[in-house]
Amino acid sequence: MTDAGTLLVGLGSPHGDDRIGWLVIERLRSMPLDGITLRQARSPLDLLDWLEGIERLVVCDAARGTGPPGRTRHWVWPVAELDAWQGSGSHDFSLPQVLELAEHLGLVHTGSINDSESHANKPPRVELWTVEGHNDNPGECLSTEVEAALPGLLQSIEISLKGREG
């Protein structure tokens, strides 16, 4: 259960570069990150189950159309550039669709991340970390570009988490 603080979710699947979200969570589990809950998810819809009682939601996922393969980017929701980001299956909702739905339902906060107001009783703010992937074929490993981006991504996420938590 998520009690409070920050929830970091790695979205992904076992396929190629789409594994990056899950890998980030696996690696971060060995690091001392107090007050931060780590979860893996396959469907963005799962996020809707976990928004209650947290102040901050951080999502890590593979992306397409954000730059060359391996490019890491940090976004604060709402992100208009990700409108076309599609889910992997049409039954499923894409991450931007789920966050848009959450926004309409009042389940996520869309104000500035540096807003100094108290977060009590407010829905969580949402940040996204994306890594541009180019290979999500079933059974394949991470591409060399995404694998090379992983250490830097982990370091950036850790600094970002510790910075805000501290």
């Binding site: 998810a41 819809l45 299956g89 049409s90 039954h91 499923d92």
Partner: protein
């Protein structure tokens, strides 16, 4: 402004008029498929549900693997109903090994299935199907349009969450559940863990009941056909993991006789195998079939909710499958609470049994209908042959026949309206193309 209508005398004579209506990727269904409608000289020629999601060859992948791996491998066929695959695989392989589950393990299997029915049905009813009834493109647009719709979606997410919680607790994790095994479970839940689930279920129970009233009051398109509904039927409980195969036309056979009465075949236009009755004809599986054939076995409170809708059962309108889903969600909530209240932890989490060669077939009721698994194993416990027939494959030809019936009355409409009505009908079945390829785009060809 010049008249853009060409001089009729300048047209080249053509022997016949072909109209092709294509519905591109059909939205709000699972997987990749397309619908093509062929019209010649104003007459409907054919409707093809073209599943172009690549075949996934799971049956071949299972060959040579330990039978103990089958529940976890087949669970990967579908992200929405992995438990169904685990249930059919486990029960078939337990038949081979001669394992009989003690009542408490059997009840836990039923509980985890309740969780999957709640999450799968609720996802489809509110986030995928409901926008059709209110004229919105998506649940997002619906939630944005009116506060009462947003409230409905918000409550449905709580209901779905209660189902997810059951699957997560008993399945071992949120993604790709791994706690189900041949013979039972790897780890048993504690009473305290189940008590927590009961609290969540109790909190959504009234909304589950309201959902029946809400769904029954929707405005349904008129479409009634003489279906052969097929489902499991158990002597004294609403069917999930056990029972005989029955139909609305009097079929009543053991699971092992499935292949004597039903067959899969390759339709040239589809990557998914389709199914038919060997005696000829299509059949209909899923919540509407299940409820029509088993409503007398539901809990009193659920039957009372069904009676209050005023709907006469059996119902033959596929669009009203949403009402059957809502009844099954209410049933699953009630049943889950019953199982939890009566839970006595068994001494062992699973029944161990020596390996032996054999073959067996088993069927369980996945959210979308009967899911058939058949296995042959050798004396070292390796799978020699596997055969899986998913509900969407079984409903695929029935959907095409429904569309032929629906579209015959719609040909004067424009392609956009035809595509919309077709998609809507297909969505009422909640097809899962990923399962079928172990499906939608719509294309209308007018000639």
């Amino acid at each position: 402004m010049p008249d853009a209508t060409p001089d009729p005398s300048s047209r080249q004579p053509i022997p016949s008029q072909v109209r092709t209506i294509q519905v591109g990727a059909i939205a709000r269904v699972e997987g990749e498929g397309k619908l093509t409608i062929h019209v010649r000289d104003g007459q409907l020629q054919d409707v093809q549900l073209r599943v172009f999601e690549a075949p996934r060859f799971f049956e071949a992948l299972l060959r040579g693997r330990s039978l103990y791996e089958a529940p976890d491998i087949t669970a990967r066929i579908c992200g929405i109903c992995p438990i169904a695959y685990q249930m059919s695989a486990c029960h078939a392989l337990e038949q081979i090994l001669g394992i009989e589950l003690p009542p408490a393990l059997r009840a836990l299997r039923r509980l985890i299935y309740c969780g999957e029915w709640i999450e799968s049905h609720t996802l489809h009813m509110f986030l995928l199907h409901a926008p059709d009834f209110f004229g919105y493109e998506s649940a997002i647009a619906m939630a944005q349009a009116r506060p009462e719709y947003a409230d409905l979606v918000r409550k449905s997410l709580q209901l779905k969450k209660a189902g997810n919680a059951i699957v997560t607790r008993l399945g071992g994790r949120e993604i790709h559940p791994i706690n189900v095994r041949v013979g039972g479970f790897y780890r048993l839940p504690t009473r305290a863990e189940l008590h927590k689930l009961a609290e969540q279920l109790s909190a959504v129970r009234e909304f589950a009941r309201e959902t029946v009233r809400w769904s029954a009051a929707l405005d349904f398109p008129q479409l009634e056909r003489d279906y052969e509904f097929v489902s499991l039927r158990h002597s004294d409980e609403y069917p999930m993991n056990e029972g005989r195969i029955v139909s609305s036309r009097g079929l009543d056979i053991a699971m092992g006789e499935f292949s004597d009465h039903f067959e899969e075949y390759q339709a040239p236009h589809s990557n998914a195998l389709q199914s038919r009755r060997k005696a000829g004809g299509t059949y209909f599986v899923g919540p509407l079939a299940r409820w029509n054939l088993n409503h007398d076995l539901a809990h009193d409170a659920v039957r009372q909710a069904a009676d209050e809708t005023g709907i006469i059962w059996p119902c033959r309108n596929p669009h009203m499958s949403i009402v059957a889903r809502s009844l099954e969600v209410f049933y699953a909530v009630e049943e889950a609470l019953r199982v939890i209240a009566q839970y006595e932890p068994p001494e062992q989490p699973f029944v161990a049994c020596p390996i032996r060669a054999g073959e067996a077939a088993w069927i369980t009721e996945a959210p979308r209908g009967i899911l058939y698994h058949r296995y042959e194993t050798d004396d070292e416990g390796r799978i020699v042959h596997a055969d899986i027939n998913a509900p969407t494959s079984q409903n695929q030809r029935q959907m095409e026949e429904d569309l032929l019936d629906l579209l015959a009355g719609l040909l004067e409409q424009n392609d956009e309206e035809i595509a919309w009505q077709s998609e809507r009908l297909v969505r009422s079945y909640d097809p899962c193309i990923s399962c079928a390829t172990h499906f939608l785009q719509v294309e209308v060809k007018r000639s």
